[in-house]
Amino acid sequence: MKPSLSTSIGSLTLERPTILASGILGISLDVFKRLHSAGAGAVVTKSLSKEPWEGYPNPTIFSVKGGGWINAVGLSNPGAENFAEMIRPNENVPIIVSLVGSVEEDFEFMIKKFQDCKVAAYELNLSCPHVAKVGLEVGDDTELVSKIVKKVKSMSDVPVIAKVGLGSTDYLKTVDAAVSAGADAITAINTIRAMAIDVEVERPILSNKIGGLSGTPIKPVALRCVYEISSKFDIPIFGCGGISTWEDAVEFILAGASAVQFGSVMGDHWDEVFSEINTGIEKFMERKGYSTIGEMIGRAKRS
C-alpha cells in the first residue's frame, strides 16, 4: 500500500504536509487554487492587518551572495476586510489566514471579518522581524502573546497557530505563553533579522535597511528550534525555515514537525516544488516502510 501523506494538526487534517509559508504569494485566491492543484497541502496567506498596508519601497527582496534571501517587504497586504471578500468564494483550498496586529482588539476586529469565510486555521504572526510594534515586538511580550492567543481562541472554532521567531525574548518563553493560553499549534520559525550592504554604492540594499533572512542558510537554526520545541512541549508544530528539498522536509518531521512550510525556494523553482517534495517524502516513506507521517514525527528524538 502507498504511504499516506496526510497529517493532522489538532482538529485540522491536511492531505499533504507541504504548505505555502506566509508572506509568499498570498494575495490572490486564483494563485492559492493554482498552488493547491500543484500539490500544496495548505496555503498560508500574507499577514493581514486591520487596514491595508503598502509596505516599504523597493528594494524589498534580493538574494544573498552565497545563498538565501533577505526581505523587508513590510507586511504589505490589502487589509483583512478586502482579503476576506477576495477569499469568500473559496470552497476547497485549505487556507490558513495569517494575522498581524499590535493589541488584542486588532485581532478581534480581523477575526470578525472572516466569520463567513472558509478558513482552515488562523496563524498569528508574532515574529515578523522588520515592522515596528507588530510581529517580533509582540512576540517578545509574553503577556501580550497570552492575551492575543486567548482572545483569538475565544472567537474561533478552527485551530489557532502561533508563529514564533528569534527576537530579544527567549523564543521558548513565547512558545510557553502561547501554549499556556491555548494555542493549538506552533509555527517555527520566521525569518531572522539581517541586512546586506553594497560596497560599490556603500549603502544597505534594502530600503528599510534591515530585514529578515530566509532560505537555506537558516535551515539548521529553524531545525534546532523545532527540535527544542517538540522536546519541551506537547503541541503540533509547523516547521518553517529554509526548506527546499524533500530531505529538508523529512528532517523537520523527524525533529518533531507535523507539517512543513516553505516559500523562498520558489524564487528558484516555482510551483513544481510542492509535488517534488511530496513525491520525495512518499518515496522515502516507502523505502523506510512508513505508512503514515505520524510514525515519523519526532523520531530523531528517540534515545
Binding site: 498570498g26 490572490s28 491595508p52 524589498t60 526581505n71
Partner: protein
C-alpha cells in the same frame, strides 16, 4: 568574461550615456556584459533596477549599438521614475535579472504596436527577427514632441544593431502633428483590412493593448502583449504582480491574446502596492 553572477542580487553598473528622447523621456545606457548581450536578453525580458537611495523599478531592457551596453528608457512621472531619469553619466545603478518570459516570434509577416516606453521590448524584438520576418512597426504617441526611437528604428532597418531588418516604420500621433493621425489602434484597424499578418506583438498603455488584442482576436491573428504590474521581487515569491492565477514577473510579462481575452483583470484591473485590485 566576468565570474558567474547571481541574477537575483543587485549587480552595480555605471551609466555611460544619457539620451534625451523627448522632453520627458530619457534612455540611460550602462555598461553590463550580461544585459548588454543582444542575444542573451530576450525580447520581453526585464530587469529590476535599483536607484540607490530612491527605489527599485522593473524596467524593460533597451538594446544598444555598443557591445556590453544596455539601456533603460524611462518617462519621469513619480519620485522613483524621476530618480532614475535624473541620473547622470558616471552614476551607479544596481540591476537584477534578466527576468520574465519573452515574445514567441512566429515566421512571416509580423506587426509590432508600441506606445511610449512600451517600444523598448519591440526594438529588441526587431533585432531578434532581423533577416527572418517582414516587420511593420506602429509607434504611437500624443504629439510630434513625444515621438522617439524613430532614428533607432531606422538604424535597426539598416542593420546597425543586428542584421538588416525588413522593416516598415509608421509613426502615429493622436493630434496628427507627425506621421499618421489618430490612435495606433485606428491605424491598426486599417492595416488589418488591407493586409494579412502572421502575428501581432504589442507593448504600451494597457487600454491600447486591450484594443489591439481584441482586434487581433476578432481576426484570428496570433497576438501577444507585455503587461506592466506592480512588482517587488521579480522572481515569483512576493505575489505583488499577480494577474489571475499568473504572475507577471514569472509567467509573463508576455501573455497570449487568447489567454488575455479570458482574463477578468487584463484591461480592467491592476493591483496597488497593498495588493488591492483597482480600476485601470
Amino acid at each position: 568574461m566576468e565570474e558567474q553572477r547571481d541574477p537575483n542580487h543587485p549587480h552595480i553598473c555605471t551609466i555611460e550615456r544619457v539620451v534625451d528622447e523627448t522632453p520627458t523621456v530619457r534612455t540611460l545606457y550602462f555598461h553590463d556584459p550580461v544585459l548588454g548581450k543582444i542575444g542573451d536578453v530576450e525580447p520581453g525580458n526585464f530587469a529590476m533596477v535599483w536607484i540607490p537611495g530612491v527605489n527599485e523599478l522593473p524596467m524593460s531592457i533597451m538594446v544598444s549599438e555598443k557591445d556590453d551596453q544596455a539601456g533603460f528608457t524611462v518617462r519621469k512621472r513619480g519620485i522613483s521614475s524621476t530618480g532614475l531619469y535624473n541620473l547622470k553619466v558616471g552614476d551607479k545603478i544596481g540591476v537584477r535579472g534578466p527576468y520574465g518570459n519573452s515574445f514567441d516570434i512566429k515566421d512571416g509577416k509580423i506587426l509590432l504596436i508600441g506606445g511610449g516606453t512600451g517600444l523598448v521590448p519591440l526594438m529588441r524584438l526587431i533585432t531578434w527577427s532581423s533577416g527572418r520576418n517582414q516587420i511593420t512597426l506602429l509607434m504611437g504617441s500624443k504629439t510630434k514632441d513625444e515621438v522617439f526611437f524613430e532614428e533607432i528604428a531606422k538604424k535597426l532597418k539598416q542593420g546597425m544593431y543586428a542584421g538588416h531588418a525588413d522593416l516598415t516604420i509608421i509613426p502615429v500621433t493622436e493630434d496628427g502633428s507627425y506621421g499618421e493621425k489618430g490612435y495606433v489602434t485606428d491605424v491598426l484597424e486599417k492595416l488589418l483590412e488591407e493586409n494579412k499578418y502572421d502575428a501581432i506583438y504589442t507593448c504600451g498603455p494597457e487600454l491600447m493593448m486591450y484594443k489591439v488584442v481584441k482586434l487581433a482576436n476578432e481576426k484570428g491573428i496570433f497576438v501577444q502583449a507585455s503587461l506592466e504590474r506592480m512588482m517587488k521581487c521579480g522572481v515569483g515569491i512576493c505575489g505583488s504582480c499577480c494577474v489571475g492565477q499568473d504572475l507577471a514577473c514569472r509567467d509573463g510579462t508576455v501573455f497570449d491574446g487568447e489567454y488575455l481575452a479570458k482574463s477578468s483583470e487584463f484591461g480592467h484591473f491592476q493591483r496597488t502596492k497593498s495588493g488591492i485590485l483597482e480600476k485601470i
